[in-house]
Symmetry: C2
């Protein structure tokens, strides 16, 4: 087990009706004196139609808070809107950012929070040319369980001029609190629910696939969380769209999947995220769908690499029996079951399923290793990444 530091300061407020606490919770961050002014950031879509934004405004108003609204966040959130948000925050002297939505809205809010206090171009932070030293406080009301951005230090933004999709990871942007009400997820389109499930499973798998030899407690926690996600996903996709408990298990798992508890003492892989990001950047494919395509191919590519760990994954997460007779066969059976699971909830597992053009593979492989080889399970260079794309395109 590796030495580690772990601390997660995000306060999670979880359960039915909790979005109505938003005004009182936010007001606790106000400095006394002048009225507390916040940026209310959202997509302008379903959160408005469902009446959630109105309820949020009512709660803010009751608590005596003032806000400026910025909507229009799209999936794979755009840098241009981040720039606009930074301008508004500076001009209006806003002190706090409230994101209402999924990972895209939260990631956009985090970028604005950094940019508002950064002397320079915020994109330089994502390009790893600069590092921030502070950020405005961010809080969230989560409507899509997926990215785990509600208690993570991560933000992923797309510069549409490239297009480039880049991530930044800083403790400053961990939300101060996040409100998670599973009822808000009842009306998600099935495809978005499924993409969220792939995303949270991938967050755990990226941590699970490590070469660190003795990480038994976190292995157990990862496996248990993955089993709980898979079982409850089946419930939701078998007529349980409004099954509170199943939605709740998935929502809480989505936050835990990415809050770094599950990577304590180990070094995660993260190649599949980097490889998948290019599918999103070039084809505007949903993040979760990029992962359901890339992860099975990643395991197949790595089948000779620490095969016992891949077999353990198959046995403990996918219930593959006979794992101890032929590790490789067991591991491949695990991939087969994972692909079936993804398909059963409506996700693509091959290029063709999502109508992606395999003609772009060489270009994407080049772009994916822009900062050097990706992954830690084994380092993957351009050739290896290309091979993974080809396995996914077969």
């Amino acid at each position: 087990m590796q030495n580690f530091e772990y601390c997660n300061r995000t306060k999670i407020i979880f359960g039915k009706g909790t979005e109505n606490q938003i005004g009182d919770e936010t007001a606790q961050y106000a400095k006394s004196g002048s009225p507390f002014r916040i940026l209310l950031h959202h997509s302008g879509g379903s959160a408005v139609r469902s009446g959630l934004i109105d309820r949020v405004k009512e709660s803010l108003k009751k608590a005596g808070l003032e806000w400026v609204e910025l909507d229009g966040v799209q999936p794979n959130p755009r840098l241009s809107l981040v720039y606009k948000g930074i301008e508004i925050v500076k001009k209006e002297k806003l002190e706090f950012i409230l994101a209402v939505g999924g990972g895209s809205v939260i990631d956009s809010a985090k970028a604005i929070a950094m940019g508002a206090l950064f002397n320079g171009d915020v994109w330089d932070i994502y390009e790893r040319k600069a590092a921030p030293t502070q950020a405005l406080p961010v809080a969230t009301i989560v409507t899509i369980p997926a990215a785990g951005s509600e208690s993570s230090i991560s933000s992923v933004i797309t510069d549409e001029r490239g297009p480039w999709k880049r991530g930044a990871n800083y403790e400053y942007i961990r939300p101060v609190f996040s409100i998670l009400n599973p009822e808000l997820t009842y009306t998600l389109p099935p495809y978005q629910t499924a993409c969220g499930i792939a995303d949270m499973l991938a967050h755990i798998m990226e941590r699970y696939f490590t070469q660190e030899p003795h990480v038994e407690l976190t292995d157990e926690l990862c496996e248990g969380a993955m089993r709980a996600i898979i079982r409850n996903a089946r419930t939701v996709f078998s007529g349980g769209e409004k099954n509170y408990d199943a939605r709740a298990e998935i929502m809480w798992a989505g936050a835990l999947a990415h809050n770094n508890l599950l990577s304590t003492g180990r070094i995660g892989d993260w190649a599949s995220h980097a490889i998948g990001h290019e599918l999103s950047a070039l084809f505007d494919l949903a993040h979760g769908a990029s992962l359901s395509i890339i992860f099975p191919a990643w395991i197949k590519y790595n089948i000779k690499e620490n095969t016992p760990r891949l077999a353990r994954f198959a046995a403990k997460v996918w219930g593959v029996d006979g794992a101890f007779y032929d590790y490789e066969q067991a591991a491949l059976e695990g991939v087969f079951r994972m692909e079936n699971f993804f398909r059963s909830i409506g996700l693509p597992v091959k290029f063709a399923d999502a109508k992606l053009d395999p003609g772009k593979i060489s270009e994407m492989a080049k772009r994916a290793v822009n900062f050097g080889p990706v992954g830690n399970y084994q380092k993957l260079d351009e050739k290896a990444v290309e091979a993974i794309y080809r396995l996914a395109a077969e």
Copy 2:
């Protein structure tokens, strides 16, 4: 799943050699200007003999910190020493409390931290006659993985005038940071290692045994953590006293067991702790040993109460097969295996094993329900508690 709030702000610094960071970490809490003065609290025993206290002092000195030392903490930490600590902190105007030791030292430090800023008798807090509104910051270097006090809101103190053993739970006393180096546990006497293992297992079992029907993610996390503890305990007790990884898994599990993540969405039981506390108060029995005696009896007493959950515990944690043919038989087989496990690491599971006097049972039962019935799995009155003591004395 119940609504919940969850936040754990303790920064965990985990791994080899981390105790040498103590000076620099502590210095971050100093207000600029005057020298930062802290109370260095420990038992005066093994932490001194091993040279740990000297290393700590060297690190504090290097960071420019000043300290006053208060040693003498005993297992089942005493109120009289807490009073002494409060007096010293007030007189010397100390601003920060550093606990070096196990749960007893940390709990004593937390009591002093509350008492130093409390206008009245600190014991009133433990008697539930008063509530604190603040506390000095506490940090810890953990030498015994057991109580989980290093990232919990709990403190348990014994008033030797009764004797009464009482707990207090306040967010104010959650340590600001805790340093956990598994190497420091290599030289623990086997009995202390074993008591710690029983304590952390009990912390998880208290949370696991709930009547909340849909808590699947946390069930998985609890079961996985318990399996990891049991397997690594077997390694340590099979000649692995200095097996870093096994010690590390146990130490990290001990902190997670009691940081409240594992109780999110559910209401725990906690009867066994209350019932066990009387064994410690009357016979000065180690806390872990009181739990290895009481928990098997508690399950036997509850065998008709939500038997499927008891059977699941037997199946998932103790590997009992056939759990789905006869729940009650499976549950009892689980208890049998738990008792065998406790015995295998040198712990008592019956009154006679620890030479406890069954003549005190009626008195203890009366005392245990001093504040009313205990437990939530089912409420236990004086008669029920007495029956559990009798099952443990059989």
